[in-house]
């Protein structure tokens, strides 16, 4: 192998590596659906706490979660099947997201004495903020804004206990669902 060939080969490698995707596909539809599911659960809890709805209405919660899980599973399979590649960054993002949401799920149930009452909803706003800020770290300003909205609603809910469920739900709707909607619009 001579110098010319070596230079040519190194150029090929540089060209391919420079072209390799460093962009992150957040998957707007997941944020849209889970934002609606989470906000609905917060609103439902608030309506039951206000005695506007009977306590039996809380049975809608597992149904809502099931809808979210079924949709996410179906969409993930579909996306994986029709995608040509998955970047390392995308894999890192998915691992981080599953880890954050998985740990939050376990914490909510295993630590039900700690995360009782509105803390149960608030912990999801924290998890959502972490996921959004990770996406924001990779250049998505909408995600940073959405993450800030989500964490600000947590602070507001803390000082408005009478309507905490509505505030946390609104944070999920604006921050999480709003981010998902803007991602889908940007994709078009």
């Amino acid at each position: 192998m001579d110098v010319k060939d070596t230079r040519e080969q190194l150029e090929i490698v540089e060209k391919i590596l420079a072209a390799s995707s460093r962009t992150l596909c957040a998957g707007g539809e997941f944020f849209l659906v889970w934002g609606i599911v989470s906000a609905s659960i917060d609103f439902l809890n608030q309506l039951v706490a206000n005695n506007t709805l009977p306590a039996t209405a809380l049975w809608a919660m597992p149904v809502l979660i099931l809808i979210g899980v079924v949709f996410s599973t179906w969409r993930s399979i579909q996306m994986r099947a029709h995608s040509g590649r998955m970047s390392m960054l995308q894999r890192e993002y998915l691992n981080m997201m599953y880890m954050t949401l998985g740990v939050t799920f376990v914490a909510q149930f295993a630590g039900s004495n700690f995360f009782a009452g509105w803390a149960e909803g608030a912990i999801w706003n924290v998890a959502g903020t972490m996921v959004l800020l990770f996406i924001g770290m990779h250049g998505n300003r909408r995600a940073v804004l959405a993450g800030v909205v989500l964490i600000v609603t947590l602070a507001i809910a803390n000082y408005t206990p009478a309507i905490a469920g509505y505030v946390l739900g609104a944070g999920m709707l604006v921050g999480y669902t709003g981010f998902g909607a803007t991602e889908l619009l940007a994709r078009e």
């Binding site: 110098v3 070596t6 391919i16 390799s20 099947a81 995608s83 040509g84 590649r85 998955m86 970047s87």
Partner: protein
């Protein structure tokens, strides 16, 4: 130098897989602008050497092959590029 990576197509395949968790056959073909047969033959050699892993699946009743770089392939690529860079530096300084 790694003789297996002296081929531009094989080096290109490894470079494509380097920043990805996995890449489908069609995406590799699109990036490297080569024929099915040619790409398949080069991939075969890389799989045989343990540099690349192959995963076969069916999507909408059509076969789909995905490839990922193994640790062995990653190490081979890194040392190959280092040797090429050293060779180039040596040639430039002499």
């Amino acid at each position: 130098m790694d003789e297996l990576l002296l081929s531009k197509i094989r080096l290109g395949i490894i470079a494509e897989l380097l920043a990805s968790d996995w890449v489908a056959f069609s995406a590799l073909q699109h990036s490297l602008q080569t024929t099915n047969g040619n790409l398949g033959a080069h991939l075969g050699k890389l799989i045989e050497s343990g540099y690349v892993d192959e995963e076969k699946a069916f999507v909408d009743r059509r076969p789909l092959s995905r490839y990922r770089l193994t640790q062995r392939g990653r190490e081979a690529f890194v040392s190959h590029v280092r040797e090429m860079q050293a060779m180039l530096q040596g040639a430039e300084s002499s």
